[in-house]
């Protein structure tokens, strides 16, 4: 199977990559892990004339903790997040998510930067970074800039990136209660994209009042979304069964899923409610003293 012919370019620095993007504009594509782009090129849905491979640029793959944030380089492979002790300790929700993302071979090549640039409405990293209030750093000909994850996803497979910008890093504020997060994904078969998915990260005080909450939804709209109204509803509340009921109903209201092969809009709305409830119940269970308490 052969894509349309292209020129293969191997910049050695980010600066050089940006210059190439600026020069070739819409005719060029960045190649990261290739696990979304290569199949699209083979199907000739994507037809770049110039392929700019980031993989020969040193220093784009890292996971480090600094100033209360975990910084993840754009070219960091899914598997590196899976195996990272920093992630295990500081943001275990990411490890929960990566284990259900694609399959072993795809995780060995696919990158977090590529996955968010791809902006699949049913991808796994979208909801997680939205729940965690991550910031996305990118570089273009005019220099670097940062965006909130919420402003990054603009439509299905579409982001706020300019055609000549490269994602360089995802910076994630380390949650104050690392264990109180979970990612629940409903999928047809293991390794498939989500039908719907929910990422929840909470913080609570000793009386069980929800001090803060982040909620990201996958498969719930034409893009990964942050459930801002539901976060506002639950902040400062005790996560009682009644509060969860009201929140789940609100989730259904704000969701506007696309009907596709994975399910109709009605079906997705219904299961989203169920998965959301499951996610909240799971973090509450983790927070309860009998299961080890919150840390």
């Amino acid at each position: 199977m052969y894509p349309v012919a292209f020129d293969y370019l191997e910049p050695r620095t980010l600066q050089e990559a940006v210059e190439l993007l600026e020069k070739w504009g819409e005719n060029a594509s960045i190649l990261a892990g290739g696990q979304s782009l290569i199949p699209l090129m083979k199907l000739r849905i994507a037809r770049p004339r110039y392929l700019i491979d980031l993989n020969r640029i040193p220093g784009l793959s890292y996971i480090r903790e600094q100033d209360g944030c975990v910084h993840i380089g754009a070219l960091t492979r899914h598997v590196e997040i899976e195996e990272s002790s920093v992630v295990r300790e500081k943001i275990p929700i990411m490890q929960e998510a990566v284990r259900v993302l694609a399959d072993g071979q795809v995780r060995n090549l696919g990158t977090i930067g590529g996955a968010i640039a791809q902006a699949d409405p049913a991808g796994d990293w979208g909801p997680v970074i939205l729940a965690l209030n991550a910031r996305i750093k990118c570089l273009g000909p005019k220099g670097g800039r940062e965006m909130e994850a919420m402003d990054f996803f603009t439509f299905a497979y579409t982001t706020a990136l300019q055609p000549d910008e490269v994602v360089t890093e995802i910076a994630i504020p380390a949650p104050s209660a690392p264990r109180l997060g979970t990612y629940v994904k409903l999928e047809r078969v293991s390794g498939d994209f989500a039908i719907v998915s929910v990422a929840v990260q909470i913080d609570r005080d000793k009386d069980g009042i929800c001090r803060d909450i982040g909620i990201g939804l996958g498969g719930a709209d034409d893009r990964p979304i942050k459930a801002v109204p539901v976060e506002a509803l639950l902040r400062g509340q005790k996560l009682s069964p009644k509060a969860i009921d009201i929140a789940a109903r609100r989730i259904e209201e704000i969701a506007s899923p696309i009907s596709d092969l994975r399910g109709s809009q009605e079906y997705k709305k219904e299961v989203l409610k169920v998965i959301f409830r499951r996610a909240l119940e799971r973090v509450i269970e983790r927070a309860s003293p009998t299961t080890g308490g919150s840390r």
Binding site: M1, P3, Q35, I38, N55, D103, G104, Q105, N108, L109
Partner: protein, 161 residues
């Protein structure tokens, strides 16, 4: 435009001319004559084309050959040594883990890459590790058994080599 690349495959150095759009699987099969890695779907969904690249299992239909310039690849042909099957191959044979055999090279390479990093896997971890590989014949049971058996063997469990 053709470009010349150097790759090491199964310990042997090759110099090949490739078009940038040529997938690794096509170079392995058509240029180097290594037909062990199979083509099932060519869109990343079946795992039949799995090989080891830079120490990790990948689907060779999801990589351009040009990307592999200066790196090392191991295919199913690289596992047996001096005419002796690798413990994984032997275990697949012993437990009837292959029927038509189409998925087998990909299954074995996926398991090989996995065991390199997880030498003591649980049954669930093994199942998780082959989630990217489809088999239309066996029902997977014997494949999981074979990988379990090979893991023990590779740990020196029963006999040494």
């Amino acid at each position: 435009m053709l470009r010349e690349i150097n790759v090491k495959v199964n310990g042997k150095d090759y110099q090949v001319k490739v078009e940038p759009r040529t997938l690794l699987i096509h170079v392995l099969r058509d240029t180097l004559g290594l037909t062990g890695a199979h083509i099932g779907c060519v869109v990343g969904k079946c795992g039949a084309c799995t090989v080891l690249w830079q120490g990790r299992q990948v689907k060779s239909c999801m990589v351009f050959a040009a990307q592999t310039a200066g790196t090392e690849i191991v295919t199913i042909e690289g596992l047996a040594e001096d005419g002796h099957l690798h413990p994984l191959q032997q275990a697949f044979w012993d437990t009837d883990a292959a029927e038509c055999g189409y998925c087998t090279p990909g299954m074995i390479m996926a398991a090989y890459g996995f065991l390199l990093r997880n030498p003591h896997p649980s049954e669930n971890e093994i199942k998780h590790a082959i989630a990217g590989n489809l088999c239309r014949c066996t029902g997977y049971r014997n494949i999981v058994e074979a990988i379990k058996k090979a893991a023990i063997e590779l740990q020196g469990g029963k006999s040494h080599g």
